[in-house]
């Protein structure tokens, strides 16, 4: 599984990354989690950061952030 966190790197982006890591670990999935900070790269998916891209699909963007359960659900749907 391939997870991308989109965002130039603020507190919210960081939180999103932590949640994605924890969610993948809790679900026992092997996932590569990559942080995308390049604007042009981010904007291939969305203009509202933080974004969560799972297997190439944008599953969440912007504020408010989803909670951990929601992130797990989004990841499970793509697993």
């Amino acid at each position: 599984m391939d997870i991308k966190i989109l965002g130039p790197g603020c507190a919210n982006c960081h939180k999103m990354e932590e949640m994605a890591k924890k969610a993948a670990a809790d679900l026992g999935l092997k996932a590569t989690i990559e942080k995308i900070t390049d604007i042009a790269e981010i904007m291939k998916y969305t203009m509202s950061t933080p974004g969560l891209v799972i297997n190439g699909k944008l599953r969440h963007s912007g504020k408010p952030l989803p909670d951990l359960e929601k992130v797990k659900e989004l990841i499970r749907q793509e697993a």
Binding site: A40, M47, S48, K63
Partner: protein, 315 residues
Amino acid sequence: MLKRFAEYLTYDIVRLEQGRLADALVFFTYDTIKIFFLLSVVIFFISILRSYFSPEKTRRILSHKKEFIGNILAALLGVATPFCSCSAVPLFIGFVEAGIPLGVTFSFLIASPMVNEIAVVLLWGLLGWKLTALYIGTGLIVAILSGIIIGRLRLEKWVEEYAYKIHIAENLETPNRTFRERIEYARHNTIDILERIWFFILIAIGIGGFIHGYVPEDFLLRYAGPDNLFAVPMAVIIGVPLYSNAAGVIPIVSALISKGLAVGTVLAFMMAVTALSLPEMIILRKVIKLPLLAVFIGIMTVTIILVGYLFNAIL
């Protein structure tokens, strides 16, 4: 009722004698309870309301609008649309790319931090609804005016070239949420914001309480009253580097008002704190060149100072 509780706590439970310390404690307890109650309720409902807006929708609405109407709509949508401060640059590019005029984009970006829910709650709780309405109204006017001026100056050449070259995916729909999900989001958002700011607010209310109890009534009237012409520009200059803590600044300011600080000066100060922040400037510098950034800061500073003078003159 709240006031009585604060007095009961101070005089009957802590058993303080009437005096300055007691004054400060009453002020502190009363404000703390009131502010946290208001914050929880207001942030919760605003979060629900905001969940119906998204940057994508806003972009769609604004992309067909002309100057003026566009600026007004952009300022209003800037208040309603939830977005993380870190997405200012992608949003800027997304707006420009959708053909939204530069001035309209700025109206959006200016209104958003200035009229935020935390500032509104604190103002309302500490200084009453009249001043809050005044702040929101003038905040919107500053955003609309500054946006129109920036638009008229035709400064598109000072947007970084790469901004026009980036192409955005078209399928940027945010998923539809059920009402229950919205409430759940709002609950989370409220807890999240409170966790982030409670400490600043407590400290600020504490300082406010101290000022309230210990600083003489006319202390500021002498230095920063309505008659001092330098008070407004000074307030703006002090306000610019004080970022992110509208939460921390307002309780202090409210105490200062009771010591004679003029209302226009206060409004100008708060606008400078919320709308002109160094971190945001640094972020924006990634898409706009220095001259445009300078024009933006200049226009904002002048408009905010004018607002300060205006209210000092009429109130």
